[in-house]
């Protein structure tokens, strides 16, 4: 399969602490790739490097999209999103005071802004802004439907229940029309029924059948709950203490001794806590 993201010897140091040490892996196009590992394994740090919130100390990150190779590690934060990488956050970061619909329109800022003639035309009521806005609302509606939030479209995002907020955040990320969707612990805090529904949604997003007119989208997710990951991932990368210890299909990972040792040795308690939550 063609790669969507190639990570080469990614290293991130904070002062004397090396959070990620020469990690290399490839995420395939049209697949769900999961990065797992016990707490403190460096998952979130790596994630923040990929999505541009940290600048890696060493190594390279290359996005293969539309026949081009984009070096993500050289781009400024907002340019990474424009290159086709969208993300969600571990602690949901919605625009709480804006409605669900508005959240999804903000995500389409770039497209809409271009159609307004960068603000000036729109103030004067010129240009094809009306049509562009209708299209944007259409796309937002499709994603609200895909996430089962169409009834709450005009409610402020901050008033939605937690599970709905997580889905809305995914919908918002998808409204940027990304090539790669990065999810930071998407199942954290969800009940088993919501987790199953999330798995369904993610598979639908991968295959491009989640919402009307949506293109297939590769997914990279991090999670420390093995149970969630095994069910939906096509490919799993395991980190421990900042280094990659395994890389393969769910079945291969399940049988890997190093992974079992890492989880039994350190991650055991966390797992119980999480499945109880």
């Amino acid at each position: 399969m063609a790669p969507i993201l190639t990570v080469e010897k990614l290293t991130m140091r904070f002062g004397g602490l090396t959070a990620v040490k020469e990690v290399s892996f490839t995420a395939a196009e049209g697949a769900i790739t999961a990065v797992i590992g016990p707490n403190g394994a460096g998952k979130t740090t790596m994630f923040n490097c990929i999505t541009g919130f940290y600048r890696p100390t060493g190594g390279s990150l290359v996005l293969h999209h539309g026949g081009q190779e984009v070096a993500l590690h050289r781009l400024a934060g907002h340019r990474i999103a424009r290159a086709g990488v969208a993300r969600t956050f571990q602690n949901v970061r919605l625009f709480a005071g804006m409605t669900a619909l508005e959240n999804l329109l903000v995500a389409q800022h770039r497209k809409l802004m271009a159609s307004t003639g960068f603000g000036i035309g729109a103030v004067l009521g010129l240009s094809g802004y009306k049509a562009a806005e209708q299209a944007a609302i259409g796309r937002a509606t499709a994603w609200l439907e895909a996430c089962g939030l169409i009834d709450r479209a005009d409610d402020p995002a901050g008033s939605l229940p937690y599970g709905a907020q997580r889905r809305l955040e995914i919908a918002r990320a998808m409204c940027t029309e990304p090539a790669l969707l990065c999810l930071d612990e998407p199942a954290a805090g969800l009940n088993p029924r919501e987790s199953t529904a999330l798995g369904e949604l993610l598979r639908a997003i991968r295959d491009g059948r989640a919402a009307e007119g949506a293109a297939p989208c590769s997914i990279l997710l991090i999670e420390h709950d093995m149970g969630v990951v095994m069910g939906i991932s096509d490919h799993i990368v395991v980190l421990d203490h900042g280094s990659k210890i395994a890389d393969g299909t769910p079945a291969a990972i399940r049988a890997d001794e190093k992974v079992i040792a890492a989880y039994l040795g350190e991650g055991d308690e966390d797992e119980h806590e999480d499945s109880a939550a």
Binding site: G77, R93, F95, M98, V106, H109, A122, D154, P156, A173
Partner: protein, 436 residues
């Protein structure tokens, strides 16, 4: 609390509380009010005692605290929603009529019989602050960037017009857009270094910028006239028709065959500032429903999430700064032409504080709230003109009290910019106020 309390302990507790308050008041007022430093005949200071004043103040504090406590007890004992909650429904319905009613009143004010020069001047003053409030609302209310130096752009606008008119003889109508552009330019210039700053730090840096601009205006005597300011700034004309007192040929009165009257110019200035203020409002309201305005509000809610959606924070912040500054510049040019005289004294920190107070007291992001706050604060300030030196004291106390009463301002809720079915206002508790 809901259990019926016997009357007596409540009264006793209130008395004790009031006594304590009186004791503290005595400590506060005894030296500061009771002992007044005066300059004696020899030029040296001596102390004049004013014990009765202290006694009076302490008695007021005692009675005030006592009554407040009783009222609080009385309110706590009563069941049912508070007055504020019960009024919320009718107020909301009333609110829909307030904006059109205010607009109509503003449009017709000069025509109302009995409205003289003084009332019109007051109207101009209030509208100037409404405009400044609306301009700052873009920066603070929508984009969530705390700006304590907004007066700097007001000053840039005023001095731009004054200097351009003085050195190049340009007319008001040419200078007005220039003043706005120059102010916007300064807005961007000052905006660049502060992009990374957040919250209180941003507030302090903008305060610093405001003061630097004022100090430069004060000390660059060869250009700005220093503390003496610039006088003889040309008045605006009505499409080339001057407002001259004599009503000679080519004047406004002559052209329309009217009796020359100084009121013409005041009425003209009134409509001019009304038009400028409404322009500010129109642009803001329109932008709010555009991607740019939505990006501002999203930035106020969560800057990091904005970045993850590909929104360029730098340009988004700068546009807010520039636009806010531009309207400040317009208002400044208007101020200069109305006063015909400007000096650095008009652009002190307290002006910035008042404009910010108008925005916050009105309710961040609410155009109507800002207009009402400007009317209440500036209008009220004029109404209490007889209080003289006490006026500012009352003004400051009002700021504190309104904040305690309504921390989110008079209109704290937010109206969505777009809706699938029906727009419902979003309560203030949801809306973030920005950290930048």
């Amino acid at each position: 609390m809901s259990l019926a309390h016997p009357r007596r302990p409540v009264l006793g507790a209130a008395l004790k509380d009031a006594g304590l308050a009186a004791l503290i008041a005595a400590g506060l007022f005894l030296p500061m009010v009771g002992l007044r430093t005066d300059v004696g005949p020899t030029g040296a200071l001596f102390l004049r005692t004013r014990w009765t004043d202290v006694l009076l103040l302490v008695a007021i504090v005692f009675a005030g605290r006592f009554l407040i406590r009783l009222w609080q007890e009385w309110r706590a004992e009563r069941h049912g929603p508070s007055l504020q909650k019960r009024l919320a429904g009718p107020m909301l319905r009333l609110g829909r009529f307030v904006a059109p009613a205010l607009l109509l009143f503003a449009l017709l004010l000069p025509l109302i019989p009995g409205i003289g020069r003084y009332e019109l001047d007051l109207g101009i003053l209030v509208l100037t602050y409404v405009m400044l409030g609306w301009g700052l609302n873009i920066v603070v209310g929508l984009a969530g960037l705390l700006d304590l130096g907004y007066v700097a752009f007001y000053a840039v606008g005023a001095y731009s017009y004054a200097l351009l008119a003085q050195y190049f003889g340009l007319s008001f109508w040419i200078c007005l857009p220039l003043a706005g552009l120059l102010a916007a330019f300064w807005g961007i210039l000052l905006g660049f270094p502060v992009l990374r700053l957040r919250g209180d730090y941003l507030a302090i840096v903008t305060l610093g910028f405001g003061e630097i601009i004022r100090l430069v205006l004060l000390n660059w005597v060869s250009l700005t006239g220093g503390p003496n300011g610039i006088s003889g700034i040309p008045r605006p004309s009505f499409f080339g028709l001057a407002f001259t007192a004599g009503g000679g040929p080519g004047s406004f009165a002559d052209f329309f065959g009217l009796e020359p009257s100084p009121t013409h110019r005041v009425v003209f200035l009134y409509y001019l500032i009304l038009a400028l203020a409404l322009l500010t409002n129109w642009v803001t309201l329109r932008l709010r429903r555009q991607p740019l305005g939505r990006a501002w509000e999203a930035m106020r809610e969560d800057e990091i999430a904005c970045r993850s959606l590909g929104i360029n924070i730098t340009t988004t912040k700068l546009t807010a700064f520039a636009l806010g500054a531009m309207f400040g510049g317009f208002a400044g040019a208007f101020f200069a032409t109305r006063q015909a005289f400007i000096s650095p004294e008009s652009f002190t920190f307290i002006e910035s504080a008042i404009i910010l107070a108008i925005v916050v007291l009105g309710g961040l992001g609410s155009q109507l709230g800002v207009a009402i706050a400007a009317l209440v604060l500036i209008g009220g300030f004029e109404v209490f003109r007889d209080l003289q030196e006490w006026r500012m004291l009352v003004f400051g106390a009002a700021m504190v009290l309104i904040m305690i009463w309504k921390p989110r301002g008079l209109v704290g809720s937010r109206t969505p910019t777009v809706a699938l079915s029906e727009k419902r206002t979003i309560s203030a508790a949801m809306v973030a106020e920005g950290r930048g």
